[in-house]
Symmetry: C2
Subunit: 277 residues, 2 copies
Amino acid sequence: MFSNDAKKRLDRGRQKVLDAIKSHGGTTLLSTGITGDDARMAKAAVDAGAKLIEPNHPAVALARGYQGVTNMHAAEMVRHEISLAQMLEVSKGVRNVVGPDIFITTGVPGGFTEINPVPLSEEDFLNIANAGIDGLHTHKSSIEDLKVWVDNAHKYGILVDAYIGHPDDLHTFGVPAETPEDVAKVAKQMEAIGVDFIGLMTGMSYEGVEAGKIHPVIEARVKALIGAVNVPTIAEGGINESNFKAFKELGVNILVVGTALDNIAAEAIKRQVKVFL
Amino acid sequence: MFSNDAKKRLDRGRQKVLDAIKSHGGTTLLSTGITGDDARMAKAAVDAGAKLIEPNHPAVALARGYQGVTNMHAAEMVRHEISLAQMLEVSKGVRNVVGPDIFITTGVPGGFTEINPVPLSEEDFLNIANAGIDGLHTHKSSIEDLKVWVDNAHKYGILVDAYIGHPDDLHTFGVPAETPEDVAKVAKQMEAIGVDFIGLMTGMSYEGVEAGKIHPVIEARVKALIGAVNVPTIAEGGINESNFKAFKELGVNILVVGTALDNIAAEAIKRQVKVFL
């Protein structure tokens, strides 16, 4: 491969993200769920100012009613059966309607910690790049697996966003880290192997927090992440209209929002259908 | 083929539609656009009471950003390139999440008056039936073409909804009929060849109508259709929150709404993304 071509491609992608963070005052949105995989809704998100879009394979399982799944938990169990070809079609279509300046990071089968192994070939990474995808939204759960992934992706000019989870998480969405100190340690390891954007899983496992607040355990973990690395930071999971300002105040650079947008669209559809009936 | 099996299948589909019309007081909704092809939004529509769902190939072109199309007019020009396999995948997925009691009528490439001819084989009709599709949403533009379509569909137990247009329509979405008398004549011809639900195209060509009203030309055409046939009647095109009651008052049995629902979802997404940013 031509390493300078790849480097320039990586630089272009990184610049899109840095520009988005800057233009949104330090914290930008990574818009996913239905705004990641439905070109109509991706365009709506971009028209409203979103600069970062994330199609991912569990959300496509929901979009296609694959195996009848109707919630994210069920979708996570079958997501590895969504094909790479489907994710490339989705990503290309989103690229077609949002234009070249939007950062697209895609979740592909094999890029998460899948129930059944999904190997990707070098040609697959080439096809991912050729689909107009800037980055891979990645949920591998060991530094070793992540290194294989980052090396392959970077070779073809594709950036990687990866995540830190907790050993007790219901679904494994990242490299586990139990304490804030562990979060900082894992984040530094990720940065050292070249992960381009480092995220923390902030939802699913914590309940009973006052509206508008962040659970203190999560807050300590977010702070540990932000203090540990120089690359842009991400928070994913459980972010909604009630608590997003609290995340912004912590200084995290990117907020991933998917389910909250799905719910907003579904509620709007329900209200309107009831009007017609 | 086993004609009695097909007949029973047709009867089950017809009964779903008749039950929906009855349960909604004489006029029900055929929910399409994003509620026809995205399983998440189809479920939202059904949860709100919709009983009839329509995936169609131009809307799928929009959903997939196919060739970069971002509006229905552009989608109509490329819709014939969406594959039958894609429409079957979409329809199966919607069936998975809405259950067996919802009526699904699907627009497939070849079923409209396509720019390039798309022939369908007998096996294609069998596959359509096996995807759990009750009916074919059809926009052929001659009684002869329609008869070929109806005969093939009925053989495999698939119902047909077909439409009457106007010779001056921008896109050809039905058998042309210039006057209300022509509408009545074409509707009777359609009923005679076995079309199961007969629709009138009511949008696109007429502007400048007061909010909440129907253009008098359209009103006369709807009345002519309703007066001419015994099968359930449909109005499609330009139906929105402002004018749907006027259509109900005319006594049309099924209102097709797609773009209005797409717009509602897109506006909800835009508002929410702006909140997050």
